[in-house]
């Protein structure tokens, strides 16, 4: 219940944080909202020598409109993102997912960037970010760089953020007018999703013009169901058509087996939930 001892740093700028990270390297761990990190430290599954708290860096908080994208500061709490009107209007899929993430208390503390950088394959934000084609702005010793969503999630708990880098903001390309739905399947409410589907579609007169579908917990990273997306394009938003397209939802996935279900069951769930998510997103 008590973490092993560590030194604590609370930089107030990104530059200070990057410098601190450069100084301590492997021995340091970044503390964002702490909602995943602190349980790990309490259970002593990890014992960093230094914890660098980003909580005092004001510039990392907030949501802004940046032309073709909505930009979410990495340290913006989930509860703020969930209520943000810009996100709701232009990246509805994120709004739909973030309100189901964990519980109210965790959403008050946990941060948008922290959850994405943690890269738990069962996390609720990876699939929406992937589906929306988010771009990740990363600061490091040699300045900032931007990584596309497709390249961001590398493996289980591993992203493109280097050991000397910090995720500072996430750019969500505007999907204004797109319908969105996040279909989360759990046994009890406080559980990580067994499988979840993030779907957002643009419809034109009852026909799905474009669709983006992200899968949660169907592999070691969040996944895009590209075969489904391709099959949906140009199809009517009917049960029959969507059912046919959703049958491909588990293609190329490698879901885990655990107490809540085996891989085969998850593959099956993915097809059912994808159909439901797409239909809901299309308002059908």
């Amino acid at each position: 219940m008590i973490p092993a001892a560590f030194d604590y740093l609370a930089p107030t700028t990104v530059e200070e944080a990057v410098a601190a990270l450069a100084r301590h390297g492997d021995d340091a761990k970044i503390l964002a909202g702490g909602q995943s990190l602190l349980p790990v430290l309490r259970m002593r599954l990890n014992a960093p020598e230094v914890v660098i708290d980003l909580g005092r860096i004001e510039s990392l908080r907030g949501v802004r409109d940046d032309g073709d994208a909505i930009v979410v500061g990495a340290m913006t709490p989930h509860s703020v993102v969930g209520k943000d009107p810009l996100v709701a209007e232009h990246a509805a899929l994120v709004s739909r997912a973030v309100v189901h993430l964990a519980d109210a208390q965790v959403r008050h503390r946990g941060t948008f960037g922290g959850a994405l950088a943690h890269a738990d394959p069962a996390g609720d934000l990876g699939a929406p970010a992937l589906a929306l084609g988010a771009q990740f702005v990363i600061a490091g010793p040699s300045g900032t760089r931007t990584v596309a969503a497709d390249d961001f999630f590398v493996d289980l708990f591993e992203t493109a953020v280097g050991e000397d880098e910090i995720l500072t903001e996430v750019r969500l390309p505007k999907h204004t007018g797109w319908g969105a739905h996040y279909e989360k399947f759990v046994r009890v409410a406080h559980q990580w999703p067994i499988v979840a589907i993030a779907a957002t579609v643009r419809t034109e007169g009852g026909v799905i013009a474009e669709a983006r579908v992200g899968l949660t917990n169907m592999g070691s990273t969040p996944l895009r169901a590209r075969a489904v997306e391709a099959a949906l394009a140009g199809q009517p938003a009917t049960d029959e058509a969507v059912r046919a397209a959703a049958a491909a939802a588990a293609e190329g996935t490698n879901p885990p087996t655990d107490l809540n279900g085996d891989a085969d069951y998850r593959r099956h769930l993915a097809t059912v939930l994808t159909r439901r998510a797409v239909l809901a997103a299309a308002g059908a």
Partner: protein
């Protein structure tokens, strides 16, 4: 025994929705949980636990830990020797029961993952934990046996020195006992001319998961050793500590301060308590140990874990003619305080509310390399109720009869009480017809059946099922003579004291030790009514062996029906003690006095005196009858003459998503008959909470081990307790058929909801997908299991 008719006429408190006295402190955080307590100079313990399910300890190197900051000592079993005592097995169900010695701290071998091998004592809990990481234990892994079906083979032994995993075989046979016929004959006849239902059901392993982790503080300074513990059983713990450590009982004071739930899970003499006791004595310093949740899940005892092989015989018109029950019950690595006997508590309940003529029960208890098992809410009775209520629904299906109808054909009619069952118990009262009729109406049974039919015909994705459970249970543990006949190590009485204080206030002491049940409120209501004093003037004390010097604590739905009866008797003694004083002061003869609403009055006059005024007069003692002691206090110890038998009809509607296997509860109605109710508000809370624990067994909870004996569901992330978002609001009501075995006419309610609800839920799920070829789903009914059952069109 006092008859019902003898109750005082005035009953203004009993039956009233009193808000609880306990709540004022609990809603404001002014609580006394054990972990809140600090004693000057107190040291903190951290336990070093085995990661292996079965291993020989080859060496323990404590040197690095001993040198860590603020570490006072690192203690192993070798340091404590015999002073660590042993955990007791209080219910050796057979004379030849095989049971390993259970030392609190392992000496040279561990038998489950989580067993304690060393203990670090430091000035802070954090430093104790830091140093515990430095204790270097070398193990030589031994093969571990996990799971009943593996263990029963006796190929891998949980305790090699015992030569077997089989602990005890306990048998009840109605022909042998003279309570009924021969079950084999009944089955043979049914095979020829009736129906036989054969099933194997699994009662998965559960974890009580009380919300307050266990904590213990031991202070050996002073003349007595004082122990504060988050326990249900301060009195039994004191006895057990004395009996196993040689410290005289009179030198031990056990206090259970505010205790955050138990559900049977804190009915234990735990290794942690024993180690804290031994270490405090060893160092002569106060110590505290508070477990983490992960430690709790792996070391506090588990519950259930049975495989039930069942054979039900019936005639073609649905009359049950016999039931044969063959159980395997997993004890875990050690025989816990009453763990050996939990299945035996169920032995008398498989026949439930039904009056069939032949019954055979055999239970083989088995040792494995897993956490020990013991009482969990219902303890033996939920397992039995599940089995029979599932079987009755299967029988109904087999015969094409409505499941309520099949039950009615077999249950004891209300005019047949008292009724001696095939298991040999005498049910005093009951009215199954009434409770069922009421439940059926509240539920809208016929309408829901019609909707179910419509949905089946339409082939809806989401199907509807209706589940029934018409349960009874034996509670009010327990008549001491019965316990003796079952080889239980103690009695089943309860003690109470009622003391009139000088100001007229009343101090009530009960040996029942509450941990959320609301004794302070309900017992105040009983005394206030009986004694005719204001509710607010009654103070109920409990949970401290120095205040409540006698008691057998709280479990088995016993506090009200046993402890409450002791209270009634003590209160009545006070009234009788006061009577001659009243007569003396009123200058009347005792025969001319009547007692009503707290007042003695002279018949036919206005002259009178209240019992509270008498208390002051007795305190002053200026003018008492000759030879009268100046005291209006009384004690009573009550040993119940029988169990009592609450019953009820529970109806549950479940929806099953046939595409995903997800289930959700649509409606839950229950009508329980728990006799007279002291506080309806408290009773409703007991029912709601009980229901959810039973529902949780059906749907969510399971302690899962891997083959190596590691508890996979070892945190709240994996051991799934439901939240508010997973449950619904219930529709509950009751019928009132008073028990005639106690003065108040009450029956136990603490376990009723849990016992009844599990089969109602599973029956409903199976009913929803029966037409798809499913006749059983193993608990917990996870979406995957439900989906697979549908896919396979059979059992999963």
């Amino acid at each position: 025994m006092t008859a019902l008719e003898d109750r005082p006429d005035v009953a203004q408190e009993i039956g009233r929705d009193r808000r609880r006295k306990e709540d004022a402190r609990l809603i404001t955080g002014r609580t006394r949980w054990t972990d809140n307590l600090t004693v000057p100079g107190m040291l903190h313990l951290a336990m070093v636990r085995s990661p292996f399910a079965h291993a020989r300890i080859t060496s323990i190197d404590t040197s690095a830990a001993a040198e860590a900051t603020n570490v006072v000592a690192v203690i192993t079993a070798a340091d404590l020797g015999e002073s660590q005592g042993a955990c007791i097995n209080a219910w050796p169900i057979t004379p030849d029961q095989v049971a390993p010695v259970h030392l609190p701290m392992a000496v040279d071998r561990v038998a489950f993952a989580g067993e304690i091998v060393a203990c670090v004592v430091a000035r802070s809990a954090a430093e104790a934990r830091d140093a515990a990481e430095l204790v270097d234990v070398e193990y030589e892994e031994l093969p571990a046996v996990v799971g009943l079906k593996e263990a029963i083979k006796d190929e891998v032994l949980a305790h090699p020195e015992l030569g077997t995993n089989k602990s005890a075989l306990w048998v009840f046979d109605s022909a042998a006992a003279g309570t009924g016929g021969d079950v084999e004959e009944a089955i043979a006849t049914a095979r020829e001319s009736g129906v036989v239902i054969e099933r194997e059901y699994r009662q998965q392993r559960l974890i009580p998961a009380f919300m307050e982790p266990r904590s213990v503080v031991v202070d050996p300074t002073g003349e007595q050793i004082t122990i504060w513990s988050a326990t249900q059983i301060p009195h039994i713990l004191r006895f057990a500590l004395a009996a196993t450590t040689g410290v005289p009982e009179s030198k031990i004071r056990v206090i259970a301060p505010d205790v955050g739930g138990g559900f049977g899970g804190k009915l234990q003499q735990t290794p942690e308590e024993m180690i804290a006791f031994a270490v405090a004595r060893h160092l002569d310093k106060p110590v505290k140990y508070t477990e983490t949740r992960s430690e709790s899940l792996v070391s506090a005892h588990h519950g259930r874990d049975q495989i039930q092989k069942l054979t039900l015989a019936a005639t073609k018109d649905g009359q049950v003619t016999g039931l044969k029950v063959e159980l395997l019950a997993d004890l875990g690595a050690y025989v816990a305080i009453v763990g050996g006997g939990v299945p035996v508590l169920g032995a008398f309940m498989f026949n439930a509310i039904y009056k069939f003529p032949a019954y055979h029960f055999a239970c083989q208890t088995v040792l494995t390399n897993t956490t020990w098992t013991d009482a969990y809410r219902g303890a033996g009775r939920p397992e039995a109720t599940f089995a029979i209520e599932r079987l009755m629904s299967e029988l109904a299906e087999e015969l094409g009869v409505d499941p309520l109808e099949i039950r009615e054909r077999n249950w004891i009619k209300h005019d047949e009480f008292p009724f001696t069952t095939v298991a040999g118990l005498e049910y005093d009262t009951g009215n199954y017809e009434l409770a069922t009729a009421k439940a059926k109406e509240m539920f809208g049974y016929d309408e829901l059946r019609a909707e179910q039919q419509r949905r089946r015909e339409a082939g809806d994705t989401v199907q509807l099922g209706i589940g029934i459970s018409t349960f009874t249970e034996m509670c009010g543990l327990a008549p001491s003579r019965v316990l003796g006949s079952l080889d239980y190590g103690a009695g089943g009485w309860e003690h109470a004291s009622v003391r009139m204080l000088a100001t007229g206030k009343v101090e009530v002491v009960t040996g029942a030790s509450a941990h959320g049940q609301g004794h302070e409120t309900a017992f105040s209501q009983i005394v206030a009514d009986r004694l005719g004093v204001p509710f607010e003037d009654v103070e109920v004390l409990h949970g401290d062996t120095q205040i409540a010097h006698k008691g057998l604590d709280t479990y088995g739905s016993r506090s009200l029906v046993v402890g409450g009866e002791a209270l009634v008797k003590a209160t009545d003694k006070v009234i009788e003690k006061a009577r001659p004083v009243a007569a003396h002061l009123l200058e009347a003869s005792v025969e001319d006095l009547e007692f009503s609403a707290g007042r003695f009055s002279v018949k036919g006059t206005d002259a009178g005196i209240s019992v509270q005024e008498l208390a002051t007069a007795v305190f002053a003692a200026h003018n008492l009858p000759d030879g009268m002691e100046p005291s209006l206090d009384a004690d009573a110890t009550y040993d119940p003459i029988n169990f009592n038998y609450p019953h009820g009809t529970h109806l549950c509607a479940m929806e099953v998503d046939t595409e995903t296997g997800a289930v959700s509860m649509r409606k839950y109605v229950c009508v329980d008959d728990i006799g007279n109710v002291i506080n309806p508000l408290i009773v409703s809370g007991q029912v709601h909470g009980g229901l959810v624990q039973g529902i949780a067994q059906a749907l969510w909870e399971e302690a899962v081990y891997d083959d190596a004996g590691t508890l996979v569901s070892g945190t709240f992330t994996d051991y799934l307790l439901p939240t508010a978002a997973d449950t619904i609001s219930f529709e509950i009501d009751h019928t009132t058929t008073p028990s005639i075995t106690n003065t108040l006419g009450t029956k136990g309610v603490g376990e009723a909801g849990t016992i009844a609800s599990t089969p109602a839920v599973v029956n409903a799920i199976v009913d929803a997908v029966r037409h798809l070829g499913v006749d059983d789903i193993t608990m917990p009914c996870t979406p995957q299991r439900v989906w697979r059952a549908i896919q396979e069109g059979g059992r999963a």
